[in-house]
């Protein structure tokens, strides 16, 4: 049997709509996925999460703190492919809507941004690390996600051959 493809699914600042879509796509694909994927790091699916060598890291959400940025860089360093998933990861919105607040609105939220050491400006994934693929949408369209996954799997298998 082929070696399973190691998947990581990581959520940063967002509504996690794409996580829900992922679990909905599983309705039709769980039997195939159990055979070909190993979910090595997916907080929403399991407790024993390992961040070592991933084949594909899916990133949903925008980057809102230094800790987020450091964590994302660590994931990038340990992943063959890194895919930004959904609008907040790809364009930084709507998670980053405070970037576009008026001066007065920014002043009103400043104490909360400071209390939790959030970044002055919310960033999209590509602002912080190199990205191999982007799947836009709020939420993602399942068929687009599946096409992107198929293509990544083919690429990884070709590389391993």
């Amino acid at each position: 049997m082929d070696k399973k493809i190691k998947i990581g699914w990581f959520s940063f600042s967002c509504c996690e709509d794409n996580t829900v879509i992922l679990t909905e796509i599983m309705n039709d694909h769980w039997q195939d996925w159990k055979k070909i994927f190993e979910f090595r790091h997916a907080r929403v699916l399991k407790s024993e999460n390992i961040l070592d060598e991933l084949d594909i890291a899916f990133i949903e959400g925008a980057i809102a703190s230094e800790w987020h940025a450091e964590r994302l860089k660590e994931i990038r360093g340990k992943s063959k492919k890194l895919v930004a998933v959904g609008a907040c990861a790809v364009v930084g919105m709507p998670a980053g809507q405070r970037n576009y607040f008026s001066a007065e609105q920014k002043q009103e939220i400043e104490f909360l941004v400071a209390r939790f050491s959030a970044l002055p400006k919310v960033q999209k994934v590509r602002d912080v690390v190199n990205v191999d693929a982007e799947i836009p949408g709020c939420p993602i369209e399942p068929s687009v996600f599946l096409t992107a996954v198929d293509s990544l799997v083919r690429e990884l298998k070709a590389g391993a051959a």
Binding site: S11, S13, C14, C15, E16, D17, N18, T19, V20, I21, T23, E24, M26, N27, D28, W30, W33, K34, F39, A42, R43, V44, L45, K46, S47, E48, N49, A64, S65, H68, P94, A95, Q97, R98, F101, Q105, E108, I109, L112, R115, F116, A118, C138, P139
Partner: protein
Amino acid sequence: MHTFDLKLDELTKVEGSAQLEVKVKDGKVERVEFKITEFKRFFTKALEGKPIIALPQLLARICGTCSNAHILASIEAAEHALQIEPTEQTKILRDLTMDGLIIRDHALHLYMFVMPDLVQKDAFLDFDENIPFENQMLHDAFEIKAAGNHLATLVAGRSVHAQYPVVGGFNHFPDEKGTREVIQKLEAARPAVLRLIEVFSKCPFSFDRKTHFMALVPKDKYGFIDGKIISSEGEAIEEDDYRDHLERVVLPYSQASAYKHERGSYMVGALSRMNLAKELLHSNTKKSLSKILESFSSTDIFKTNLAQAIEILHCLDHALEVLKTNKFRPEEIIKKSARDAVGVGVVEAPRGTLYHMYKLESNGTVKSGEVIVPTGQNQINIEEDIYEMVERLLPAMTQDQIQFEIEKLIRAYDPCMSCAAHFLKVNWS
């Protein structure tokens, strides 16, 4: 005597990001902090100055899994501000939207988050297809979730961030072919739902501590959109008066606002609804479950899981009846002129009572608003439960065992951190 600091940096198999700190000294719990660590996205600041009809889609983005509940609460608040009375067909389609959400969301929680604890595996996808029970649960889970997803897609366009429900009505209507297909899928999934209820009726998890319950309860049916806010002490609060009854509490270590009711902490969610309204469940649900329903009312937090399983059956039975007895026709969206007004929308989201309130201006934009979510309301109750549970477990259990029990307890609340963390402070004037 136990002395330790238990720190869970990342709670798993829950929606969103949270941490927990428990400090134990000489066999006594000194501190419990349930920290919601999602970063704020400031939706209640972002809504200022936006057209009121744009808010349902904006505020859906507070939370993916609860998005359709936010859309319905937002539409209701906007319609109350605009004095729009929805048509009977619109009300029916909204009920069906909620049915689809409850089926999908509760199934996700029960199978993918809770069930691994029951069979002592780390993940639902680790279930073994060669073990008959686990194989059955795998097939059941995805069949039920898919049925809920299809219902939501037929009626609301999507199960996440639905596009069809809007202020004043719906912009798309179920066709006959799609309706027939969904009826088939719901009927096919019913035996799986009964198996799920059976599993959770026999679940040995238990933690009993007296608390207060609150839920929006309709007058004549078990539902999620209309009614009064009822408490276990017998209060009946009108939706518009909710601000007089909830007290906001700042927990400086959490990104979310917490809430108390007049008597202190309280609980919202499926257990509250079942305790306060089980007589109103669909007749077919009651017929199938007469013995099991005797478990309620209950102060055992783990009965939330059973209550959720029962709600899946109720929503399935309700949706089946409605889809079989109604034909849907295109209707015009109702529009009204803007005015200076306050609109309140209250619905029962899967995890409990969800409040939206907007101050509308005569130019059609919103001056300010607030959103109160279920997990914020449950936050203090969760901490108090953990405190009590750890005290009870301390003499007999190791730190690792206690940690596992705490995680199970938190999962029973089905907390949603995405919802809880994304608001600015509420001004209680």
